[in-house]
Symmetry: C2
Subunit: 155 residues, 2 copies
DNA sequence: GTACAAGAGGACCTCTGTATCAAGAGGTCA
DNA sequence: TGACCTCTTGATACAGAGGTCCTCTTGTAC
């Protein structure tokens, strides 16, 4: 689905979207309110800055702020920075050469619908949509660690 | 999306689905025709055997075959063996506690549709749907000797 | 100009999924 | 019974994502 990095980026941007216009937030505070490890968040914010999504100001009184209105930043702008192109392949079995667009497998069309649904979701959803009006609360969450369940050996 | 392991499993099962009834395929040949590393495939097949999806027979003339009709094996049966429950969380921002079912974010409902679409796809699609009718090519299978199945230790 | 605040960035660590190796266990056949 | 075949299994290696540490660079205030 989404990598932890993508999700971290969305959470940070969502937090920035809560700020009033012209207001900046420190990396430290951003880390605290999103629950993303500070040093790792710094790296993510760097990518976002290089992508022209946020403005990072150094020195006393510095911090991060959105460079564009929240409703002008779509999830796809963020996710595409951190996810490879093959995350959502044209066929579920991306490695299987037997399923091609000329000779698709039976499930191809159904899979295409699912895939398009997901991509459209990312394209049409903006930061505003995933942002709660919780600018007042300083809720601290834990760093998230992607964890996959081990293959079950029983039924 | 799907882990490599899940996809490997689906490719292998899809290959098994091409065999005629009672026919088995060697691990070596299965690896060759699916492009999955042989030793790694062996481990995956073991999980599938433990899950009651395939029959593995050792010794001369042994190999792998489906234990149920291909149209009775749904993708969800396979994928759930290898993917954890958090792969498709209820909210896109799974780590963000601010988005709850009581107080969902604006995108929650849209995300739910995408999520359900994916899950329904896995639940309704069977091996038959992802299997090409290519049983004629590189025929490296042969009838499995008539022998009782080794009782699986679990299930 | 100096002290301090704050982001930038390289080096390195850790964990997990993916992959390989080698030996073992179960089975067939002459 | 022994040679041979094939899956099983534990140990181990490798690569990449996630995460930390430390130093450097830039900017502000006095």
């Amino acid at each position: 689905m989404l990598s932890a990095t993508s999700e971290y980026a969305l959470r940070a941007l969502s937090r920035l979207a809560q700020l009033s216009r012209g207001e900046a937030i420190l990396g430290r505070d951003l880390s605290q309110s999103t629950g993303v490890p500070q040093q790792y968040l710094a790296k993510i914010m760097l990518s976002l800055r290089n992508a022209g999504l946020v403005l990072a100001t150094r020195g006393t009184g510095g911090g991060y702020m959105l460079l564009r209105p929240a409703d002008a930043i779509h999830l796809i702008d963020v996710v595409s920075l951190f996810e490879g192109p093959s995350t959502w392949p044209h066929c579920l079995l991306r490695g299987d050469r037997k399923c091609t667009s000329e000779k698709p497998c039976t499930a191809h069309a159904h899979w295409g619908k699912v895939r398009n649904g997901y991509l459209e979701f990312l394209e049409h959803t903006t930061l505003v949509d995933i942002t709660q009006d919780t600018a007042h609360e300083t809720q601290v969450t834990r760093p998230l660690r992607k964890k996959r369940a081990r293959p079950t050996t029983n039924c």
